[in-house]
């Protein structure tokens, strides 16, 4: 900082912009979470005090740091949100429906204002929302309160540098106490010789021995006289976060280094194998054991790095509930959102790229899938439409479902639209997979009004591409009048994957294992030709074959046997024909950024340790290739 020039203040604070955005993100997450809980209390006579305190503090902090970076719109908006919260907290205003709406709208706008600054876009006006917040009706809340009977303890903690070094400090002590009961007081006190201590008052039902066990850490617990007390309003105590914020780029760098280590280890392994022939076993074996030890440690290291990258998917689910509420209000629909599996973890990189596709699917479900109240009631359905978002892990993949109980997709309408757009949907009944392909075809999915009537369709091509680019897969299940479910399947993380190494005409390729359903050996004599397509019998049906050698325009020897990898879903599975399967191993995925090296069917490259580059196959692209052209 140039101290002689006070006008540099703005520049001075600009160096904190990354911290500012990160802290804003953290608070917005906390705020959205609190709003979800607050919504349940709309109309209630008394609102959970600690919820209001937390919200208040987040707005207060956002106001403070926004002012520092000179983002006046965010500072003012946060100020008005904070003021409204203050009125709620002081009880001069009860939480009403319009008040909550204004709060929700204010938070969305605050996020937009911050993002506009982040992306150098014009800052939206805040006037309208501020007016709404100020106009939120002033209703005098009724009085209420519940009482329960518990035991009350006084706990004294004297901090010392020694205890602090053992991580026993006012925060960890408080966190432990909060686990076993409800803290109703936490204050510093001064003892005889001027020594500082902290006095906590805890109401809890736990046994005396639990509290006495705390004494090992210098805590003194004492039961207070009137063991039966009325539960007082708890003092809100939020343990400060121990979370460290790390830029995703730095984690990518860490992951890259781990990847390099994996490759070096593989190289070491190969060299050891060669050494085995010329080294006495007594000398070779310890080397081999060390190498295996490194392999195990590398696996642990890799898993730890991946864990650092993982975030809970619940955060974006919560964002979706806001989108749904806004859309529902605009369209006059009633919608209940059900979330489950929000604690499921997914790579931060994937989460960010999943936002838009998920948002699209949720919007479509609300706008086109779920009906208005009158239409639902006419069909004997419950007035409130149900939208459920769920997540779960299955092996190395995460499965996300977006389900509605709306009108379902009209196959006949989709068929008509497809024909009108020059597509050939065939004359048979369109099954779910074919339906998804149709509504995701660029011609159909980008059209607007007419396709809306068909129940789905805006931007589905973008959604499908985005998910497949991430190595994921989307499927659809829809029943007329009963609803639609989209199932997204994604890898938990990118960068390092299990793969099958296959050989075709002496060339090696890596096939990501998560996309392979089954592997088997086939006699060359058992293949047949059908309408220019090579097929083999498979599970009572036929499986179209895709010769990898043909895809990459190589010759292939017609051996007696070859191997088939089954890729894709049951209904549109394809058999990938390769000469041999060499091994199964971990590979480090590197994107091919050179446009000359980018070709259809190739997802990236990897090194297997012998310093030769092996191409990684793009299973989704290969499957599409097989569906569109005969092989």
């Amino acid at each position: 900082m140039d101290k002689s020039n006070p006008d540099n203040t703005g520049e001075f604070f600009n160096q904190f912009l990354d911290d500012y955005y990160a802290e804003c993100d953290e608070h917005l997450v906390l705020i959205r979470r609190a709003l979800v809980m607050l919504e349940r209390e709309v109309g209630a006579p008394a609102v959970d005090r600690s919820l209001l305190d937390n919200l208040f503090r987040s707005f207060h902090t956002l106001k403070g740091i926004s002012g520092m970076v000179g983002l006046a719109a965010a500072e003012q908006l946060a100020h008005h949100l904070e003021s409204y919260l203050r009125e709620l907290r002081e009880g001069t205003v009860a939480l009403s429906e319009p008040g909550f709406e204004a709060l929700g709208a204010g938070v969305s706008l605050l996020e937009n204002v911050i993002n506009a600054r982040r992306h150098d876009q014009p800052i939206p006006s805040i006037d309208e929302i501020v007016a709404q917040l100020q106009a939120a009706p002033h209703v005098t809340p009724g009085a209420s309160g519940s009482e329960s009977v518990v035991q009350r303890w006084q706990i004294e903690f004297t901090p010392t540098a020694e205890l602090a070094a053992r991580d026993v400090n006012v925060n960890t002590v408080r966190a432990r106490l909060q686990e076993i009961g409800e803290l109703i007081q936490a204050k510093p006190i001064v003892k005889g010789a001027g020594e500082i201590a902290f006095e906590f008052v805890l109401t809890t039902g736990v046994d005396e021995t639990v509290l006495k066990s705390l004494e090992a850490d210098g805590l003194v617990a004492q039961r207070l006289e009137d063991s039966a007390v009325h539960k007082a309003q708890p003092v809100p105590l939020i343990a400060p976060s121990t979370v460290v914020r790390v830029d995703l780029d730095r984690l990518d760098e860490l992951m890259r280094i781990v990847g390099d280590l994996v490759i070096s280890r593989t190289r070491l392994d190969d060299q050891l194998t060669q050494l085995k022939l010329v080294t006495p076993p007594a000398a070779w074996r310890p080397l081999q054991e060390t190498s295996l030890g490194i392999a195990r440690q590398l696996r642990d290291l890799r898993e730890s790095v991946i864990r650092v990258r993982m975030v809970e998917i619940g955060e974006i689910f919560e964002r979706m509930t806001f989108v749904v509420r806004d859309l529902a209000r605009e369209s006059g629909k009633k919608i209940i959102v059900q979330l489950s599996g929000g604690e499921t973890e997914i790579d931060k990189f994937l989460v960010e790229r999943m936002m838009d596709p998920l948002m699209h699917l949720v919007r479509n479900a609300v706008s086109h899938g779920l009906e208005i109240v009158a239409e639902r009631e006419a069909q004997g359905k419950r007035a409130e439409g149900l939208l459920s978002l769920s997540a779960m892990t299955a092996g190395e993949r995460i499965i996300i479902k977006i389900a509605d109980d709306g009108r379902g997709i009209d196959r006949d309408l989709v068929r008509e639209r497809a024909k009108a757009n020059g597509l050939d949907p065939g004359d048979r009944e369109i099954d779910d997979a074919a339906l998804l392909d149709l509504i995701s075809s660029p011609g159909l999915s980008t059209r607007d009004a007419a396709d809306r009537e068909s129940g789905r369709g805006v931007g589905m091509d973008i959604v499908k591409n985005a998910i497949e680019e991430l190595g994921g897969h989307i499927s659809l299940e829809t029943k007329r009048g009963q609803g639609t479910t989209f199932t997204l399947e994604l890898p938990l993380t990118l960068a390092i994957a299990e793969a099958l190494i296959v050989s075709v005409n002496g060339q090696r390729f890596a096939v990501p294992q998560s996309g392979v359903r089954e592997v088997f050996e086939v006699e060359s004599a058992s293949t047949k030709m059908l309408e220019n397509n090579e097929i083999i019998p498979y599970r009572g049906k036929v499986l179209p074959l895709l010769r990898l050698a043909r895809v990459f325009e190589m010759d292939y020897p017609r051996g007696e046997k070859f191997h088939v990898l089954v890729i894709g879903e049951e209904t549109n599975a394809v058999g990938l024909a390769v000469d041999r399967i060499l091994e199964q191993r971990e590979i480090v995925v590197r994107a091919l950024n050179d446009p000359l090296a980018q070709s259809k069917g190739i997802a990236g490259a990897t090194e297997l340790g012998d310093q030769r580059v092996v191409l990684i196959l793009d299973i989704t692209a290969l499957r599409q290739l097989a569906m569109t052209s005969p092989h």
């Binding site: 900082m1 101290k3 006070p6 203040t9 001075f12 604070f13 160096q15 904190f16 911290d19 500012y20 990160a22 802290e23 503090r57 207060h60 902090t61 106001k63 403070g64 740091i65 002012g67 520092m68 000179g70 100020h79 901090p159 010392t160 540098a161 602090a164 400090n169 006012v170 925060n171 408080r174 936490a186 204050k187 510093p188 001064v190 001027g194 020594e195 500082i196 902290f198 003092v235 809100p236 105590l237 939020i238 400060p240």
Partner: protein, 129 residues
């Protein structure tokens, strides 16, 4: 090094880590200063108990113990009552200025703050205390 001026420890108390970094960076121009941080009022008082503190930069609106209570506590404690306190709080609570000064704060600044002004004030308080 007998002629080297003593290093002063400044305790920066604010629940926002970004704000703490801004304050600490602003104080970086004072060469004889090191800093420690606390994210809440209780944490601040614990810092006092386990390390020497020469000056506090204190936010008011914080979780679990308001800055005003921290001032109260510090001013009533025989060992800490002379520690200079600079209150650094978000604009908009003008009534708290007189309260904080009456409770014993040495200076009262509002956010957004001028980094140079903060450093000057802290520097002069350290010189006179």
């Amino acid at each position: 090094m007998p002629d080297e001026p003593r290093t002063n420890n400044i305790l920066v108390v604010d629940d926002s880590p970004t704000m703490r970094r801004m304050v600490i960076t602003s104080l970086g121009s004072l060469r004889t200063v090191k800093s420690s941080q606390a994210g809440s009022g209780l944490e601040a008082i614990e810092r006092l108990a386990i390390e020497p503190v020469d000056l506090m930069v204190l936010d008011l609106n914080m979780p679990d113990m308001h800055g005003m209570e921290v001032i109260d506590f510090v001013r009533r404690h025989q060992s800490y009552r002379n520690i200079p306190i600079v209150v650094l709080t978000t604009k908009g609570e003008e009534s708290s200025r007189s309260q904080a000064l009456a409770a014993g704060a040495n200076r009262y600044l509002t956010k957004p703050f001028d980094p140079r002004q903060l450093a000057d004030i802290v520097g002069s308080l350290l010189k006179t205390s």
